[in-house]
């Protein structure tokens, strides 16, 4: 793990990169990093996240800034700008059931090719997918998802990169931390090693590449 300045962390991410971003309606999204990506004028990002938040909040800022070419998400209903850009053909939107999206990411981070889920069987979600019966029950084969970068928000990060999350800000964060080539963490608090007891470490330090320095 290395520490990095905010501007240098954002500079690691090239235009066109695929980026997993933690957060659920903006809660648990690394907000400083999102702001810096907007400031640096990133373009053509593929954003993989639960939702697109709201205009002015979290991922909503990237959408409004025109930084995103494609989003893979479970819900975009509270961001009218995503809807508008999608209907205008400016933004590609791939909607995935929430439980399937998180499992595809988990599979990507856990070295699996995909998962079998009953969710979506017999609906439009099944289109183009393989249906597999196991013990007489139908499932869809949902393939693993990985990204170039995971942008993680943690409540506590210790000096070597162990992470701990707070309340509902946990959501996608520990799962995406396993599923990207480069993991960048924005922490609310940076604490000495040992403050997070071994049993309370959620994301182990070796998967973390960068901790963004506090302002």
């Amino acid at each position: 793990m290395k520490t990095i300045l905010l501007k240098d962390a954002a500079a690691l991410i090239p235009d066109g990169a695929s980026v997993m971003i933690g957060g659920f309606m903006g809660v648990g999204t690394p907000e400083r990093l999102v702001d810096e990506l907007v400031r640096q004028g990133k373009r053509n990002l593929t954003v993989i996240a639960n939702d697109n938040a709201l205009p002015g909040i979290g991922i909503g800022k990237l959408i409004s800034a025109g930084a995103v070419k494609k989003t893979i998400a479970s819900h975009i209903g509270l961001n009218p700008e995503t809807q508008k850009k999608m209907l205008a053909g400016e933004l590609e939107v791939d909607l995935v059931p929430q439980g399937t999206l998180i499992e595809r990411i988990r599979a990507g981070g856990f070295g699996l090719g995909g998962v079998l889920t009953p969710t979506g069987v017999g609906t439009v979600v099944e289109k183009g997918k393989q249906r597999i019966e196991v013990e007489g029950k139908p499932y869809l084969l949902e393939t693993a998802l990985r990204a170039d970068f995971a942008l993680v928000q943690a409540f506590l990060a210790d000096y070597i990169g162990n992470l701990y999350y707070a309340l509902t800000a946990r959501n996608f964060n520990p799962v995406i931390a396993m599923a990207a080539d480069t993991v960048i963490v924005e922490a609310n608090n940076i604490v000495p090693v040992g403050v997070i007891a071994p049993d309370n470490v959620v994301t182990p330090a070796p998967v973390v590449d960068y901790i963004i320095l506090q302002a």
């Binding site: 659920f24 309606m25 938040a53 975009i76 059931p97 929430q98 969710t119 439009v124 799962v175």
Partner: protein, 216 residues
Amino acid sequence: MDAHTIIARRIAQELRDGMLVNLGIGIPTLVSKFVPSGVRVYFQSENGLIGTGAPPAEGMHNPMLTDAGGKPVSALPGACTFDSATSFGLIRGGHLDMTVLGALQVDASGLLANWMIPGKMVPGMGGAMDLVTGAKRVIVAMQHTAKGQPKIVRQCSLPLTSVRPVDLVVTELAVIAFPGGRATLLETAPGVTVGQVREATEAELAVSERVCTMVL
């Protein structure tokens, strides 16, 4: 009593002590206000919380403690938080006793459409497909009609949420179940006749031999 209150109060009677329950946004959320006394249920928010409580007092909110709509909530004693993989493991894995969701359409056999209107409204399915596929019991909370048009239809014209039929539909007019894959009227709201329910329903509606008035 307004339509939303009738629906929420009636659904609250389906709650049993110890149940793990997920409430959708809108009318379903109101159900938590009418939990019968002596019944203790665990409410799950799919963003990663069991033990969801009422919104906190002014100034007591925590920006990292929210419901699935991103609104501040409190957490009750014994609450726990977890990541989204665990949250949907609870939902798909047979651990969730009941889910209450809104609907755009429900068909004569109980199939639900509640996540998009092609070309008009594409919010995404969020957790709805997992909830309807995985919960032990699925209850729909909705107004009986939308702009005068029946929402309980012969066949859904909108994309389905799941091929698993719902167990119960509760509206401001009626309680409807689907025994043997057939929409069946179980209860009418106070002052509402079977004829009025039929008139507001496009699907063919069987009437239970034991049809009665909702107790609210």
